[in-house]
Amino acid sequence: MRLYLLSLLLAACSGIPGLFLRRRGAEVSAGLMTVSALLGLGAAVGVLAGGPVPSLRLPALALGSPSLLVLDAVAAWFLIPVLLLAACGAWYGVRYWEEAHGHPRWVRLVFGGLTAALVLLVAAAHTWLFLLAWEAMAIGAFLLVLTEDRLAEARRAAWIYLVSTHTGTLCLFGAFALLAGVAGTWDLGALPRGFAASRLGTQTFLLFMVGFGLKAGVMPLHIWLPPAHAAAPSHVSSLMSGVLIKMGILGMVRLITWIPDPPLWWGALFLGLGGVSGILGVAFALGQHDLKRLLAYHSIENIGIILLGLGLGLVGKSTGQPALEALGFAGALLHVLNHSLFKGLLFLAGGAVVHATGTRNLEQLGGLAKAMPWTSGAFLAGSWAICGLPPLNGFVSEWFIYLGAFRAMAGARWPWSVGVLAALALIGALALACFAKAYGTVFLGTPRTAAAAAAHEAPRAMLLPMGVLAGACGLIGVFPMAVAPALDRAIAGLGEALPASSRLAHLPLVTVLALTLALLALGLTRWVWAGRRSEPVPPELPTWDCGYAEALPRAQYTASSFAEGLVTGARWVLFPKVQGPQVQGPFPEPTRFESHVPDPVLDRALEPAFRLGARGLVLLHFFQTGQLPVYLLYVLLTLLFLLIWMVV
């Protein structure tokens, strides 16, 4: 516990020296963050390696609870990405967020605070502490989204985030209150059998789902995610997308651990939400032109995948199939870790692009792979992993979930999991399309604007964290059995007597095939390389393109044209806004074509609804006319009403 508390303290204080130091403040805070990360990771690894579960009693605060902080395996598992991304983000921020962008000291301070809140949250085992950490996290993230509060966009994003997170918190209020009513204590722990099936249990479950779903960004509740991720500084976006939204998942996982006997429909709900979030998330990502918005929608997609895993696990739990349980939960938890790694990586790389070119608009980028090879490599690695392509880590976790789905179906017990299969397949294919688009338009081809042409490689302080994350992705992808034991301990609490995941999936063979693939690629490359002749190739050759004369950068396929086929194919869900005059005549005028895909819930449903509701309520303001007699009339009427009500 000492390690954990120390890391908590260091994380919380990491920003403070920077407030006073005239220079090198950023390095100092990043260093502190690193130390805290190392300590915390030490604690987490200790627990996951089967060490004792440390817990802390805080009798000083009379919170009516024996132990407040319990660093169990689940907590440890979630602690790893938190600290990893925090440390990487801190180093990344050293150069990414300099004085030019304004008050970096405060950003660092709040960043540290946010990290501390996350560290606290994963281990919170008491309602009060949980809500405290939860809100601290929410406010920290809110302030970080608001970093550039001069921009209306950032203010709007932050406001939407604040409101939605508070809504979630209120749902949690209700849920925890009901829970405490049942358990008779504010400690968070196992619940009696039969509770889940009761009406009260249903209410609690739904409240929890809304509360945690809002944080996790499950599809109908995802409204805050795209704007907030787009508006925040990139290292913050990576922390939010990588870890913060996972706290919603953490909550759901905790809920699963408390419930011994979930009804079948819980799992079905998880699967339904997961399918919707996954497919729609990636579908809407296809329609985006803003690099960070695109990544944000992919976070929604991956949350969907995680929910699919949890749903399979729940189905297994309620139908008594331990193997299915283990596969589903293991896949979900592993994907939590994986997604935080590669999505953090992607946001950092995307941030480097923004840093270098000053724009997030895909249509204005292009050909960056030449100017910034390392960033381009990092982004490619991230895309590779997020598409679930072997041999990177994304594949392993999705593989678990696939296996679960196959097992549930082939075992002939639960055929509906074929939906999961189809969903995952579709998600995979679309994600591949989306990242081919993203990587292709940003890094490949020729620059579309002067800004893109003038891009420069990111400084080393920004490249290093990307390297770390990419390395982690590779390691988990190639040597999945290394994490398997830890994973088994993490999921052990979610069900009774779960079989080891290594017994259910042949992880070593993955390693073998991955290495084979690498060797083959290496050999073929050597062969191709050996084919170069001695006489040098004239370097200035344009793309041949079937002899097409000197293709202009403008002639390249843009992001929107790349996605056009799929977007129009799915226009009955995406409702893209396309504006471009019909081109007619032999010599048409030069004209513009624009198309973008607004968010279905926020832009199409909630905002109009709220505007309408506000207008309606403002109509009621005539009750406050300012006429004193009217006010007196209210008093009189109240009095009369009450008197009459009293008599009759």
Binding site: L61, A177, V618
Partner: protein, 498 residues
């Protein structure tokens, strides 16, 4: 000893009348406040021993409310000199005198053991606070004062009638003077129910008007909007608390007489209605002081809602009294600072305050978060416990409604607050000398820290006081301070203890 609590401020007020030099006069405020607070703390050590059958006497409930008011007053008094220094244009003799008189009358009310005395105190308080609202001496302040006075006096008149009704109920039960609360509660069974109910309705409307329960609250936005922030803080935290206390006393009697259910129904109705009304008028509210006024309406609603739920919620309603007073003082004072700096309190003119007056704006935002129930600040403890009590003590629908209203109020309030605090500062129309200084912000910080501390940990004496107080209002006279009147239905009540 207890009488000194009343006399000290009144004497100070008398003194302030005769001090010519403004510089010295303003010093009287903090000195008196600190003395009063110290004295109160000394007295409170023995709040159990004080005799209850006197016309005056300190019990847990009165002590708690008076403690809240005294702390609030101290914060405002510490803030006052720096504020008045900013307003050299206005002579503040009347101002200081009225402030001090207010403190004395508040003490009188809290010490009162007799409905008549309580009524007198509140009535006089109305008089003394009117000049405070009138401080700015412009058309708007006149209008605000006029509305405040008419509504206030009508309300207070109704309260008088209600008090008389209660007295007549006692008379029907052939109880004679002196009718102090303890006796009324002890002899509760003998009171005449119909008169008691009518009396309660009248007092509810009367004191409710002074508390500012919707739809009786109409004076509030105008008064709070037009007064200096310091007066707003005192009104929102002090006067309302006093009216609430007077109402609670009557409620205690009614509950002791066995009409508690009837009263609680009314409380629940007013609570929900006030919150809903506040929500409606926070929508698109461009004037952040009026916004605070409506927030005050909302929290009065929360108070009576808690009492209406009863049991655990009642205790935390009393806790919320303190939480609300502290945070409201931060909000009003910081809003006053922002108003000083921008010479406007309307939205388009006031944006990006965090850049103009960083400390005040920061405190304003923090206060907003606290008042909307963000852990670990004190209001979170009370709001959360009231909600959970409502949900678990058999009012699921009301509890849900409560949470929904809290959410809606957060939504609408945050909109305005964020525009005020963040963004690009609007071009200064009037050059104002105001800058955040230690004197104008330190009291606010103190209040904020107190609110935080209460949220984290409630010292044992205070807890004991709170529990005794909640027993008092739940209809059991403090002499029989053994059982908790409310037997929670359904699930076992649990609480997040601060």
């Amino acid at each position: 000893m207890a009488l000194l609590l009343i006399l000290l401020p009144l004497l100070a007020a008398a003194l302030a009348v005769f001090i010519k030099v403004p510089a010295i006069r303003v010093r009287v405020l903090p000195v008196t406040a600190l003395l009063h607070l110290g004295l109160l703390l000394v007295v409170l050590r023995g709040w159990r021993e004080l005799p209850h059958n006197a016309w005056l006497g300190l019990d847990a409930l009165g002590g708690w409310v008076l403690l809240v008011i005294s702390v609030l007053f101290t914060i405002c008094a510490l803030y006052a000199p720096s504020y008045l220094a900013l307003r050299p244009d206005r002579d503040h003799r009347v101002f200081s005198v009225c402030l001090l008189a207010f403190l004395g009358l508040a003490s009188l009310l809290c010490l009162a053991r007799h409905p008549g005395v309580a009524w007198v105190a509140l009535e006089t308080m109305t008089l003394t606070t009117a000049p405070l609202i009138y401080f700015n001496h412009n058309r708007h302040s006149v209008e605000a004062t006029w509305k405040y006075l008419v509504l206030g006096s009508v309300g207070i008149a109704l309260a008088l009638l209600g008090t008389l009704f209660v007295a007549y109920a006692a008379h029907m039960g052939s109880l004679e003077e002196p009718l102090h609360y303890t006796r009324l509660m002890a002899e509760g069974e003998r009171l005449s129910r119909p008169w008691l109910r009518a009396g309660f309705v009248l007092t509810l409307v009367g004191y409710g008007t002074k508390m500012g329960l919707a739809p009786l609250h109409s004076w509030k936005p105008d008064a709070y909007g037009e007064t200096p922030g310091i007066v707003g803080a005192l009104l929102a935290g002090g006067v309302t608390s006093c009216a609430f206390l007077a109402l609670l006393r009557i409620y205690g009697v009614v509950a002791a007489a066995g009409e508690g259910a009837f009263a609680r129904e009314l409380f629940l109705g007013f609570g929900i209605l006030s919150m809903a009304w506040a929500l409606v008028f926070m929508v698109g509210q461009v004037d952040f002081k009026r916004l605070l006024a409506y927030s005050s309406v909302e929290h009065m609603g929360i108070l009576v809602f808690g009492i209406g739920i009863g049991g655990l919620a009642a205790r935390f309603a009393l806790f919320h009294l303190a939480a609300n007073a502290l945070v409201k003082s931060v909000l009003f004072l910081s809003a006053g600072n922002i108003h000083r700096s921008y010479a406007s309190k309307q939205l388009p003119q006031v944006t990006g305050a965090i850049r103009r007056t960083p400390v005040s704006a920061g405190l304003f935002f923090l206060g907003f978060l606290a008042i909307t129930g963000l852990p670990p600040f004190a209001p979170f403890i009370s709001e959360f416990n009231i909600a959970s009590a409502a949900l678990t003590l058999g009012h699921p629908i009301l509890g849900t409604l409560f949470l929904l209203l809290l959410g809606g109020i957060f939504l609408t309030m945050s909109d305005t607050v964020m525009q005020v605090v963040f963004g690009v500062p609007s071009p200064q129309r009037v050059r104002t000398p105001y800058k955040d200084t230690f004197a104008t912000t330190a009291p606010l910080v103190v209040a904020m820290v107190l609110a935080l501390g209460l949220g984290l940990h409630l010292p044992a004496p205070l807890r004991a006081m709170l529990e005794a107080a909640s027993r008092t209002i739940d209809g059991a006279p403090p002499v029989r301070s053994g059982k908790v009147a409310e037997v929670p239905r359904g699930l076992a009540p649990t609480e997040v203890r601060p």
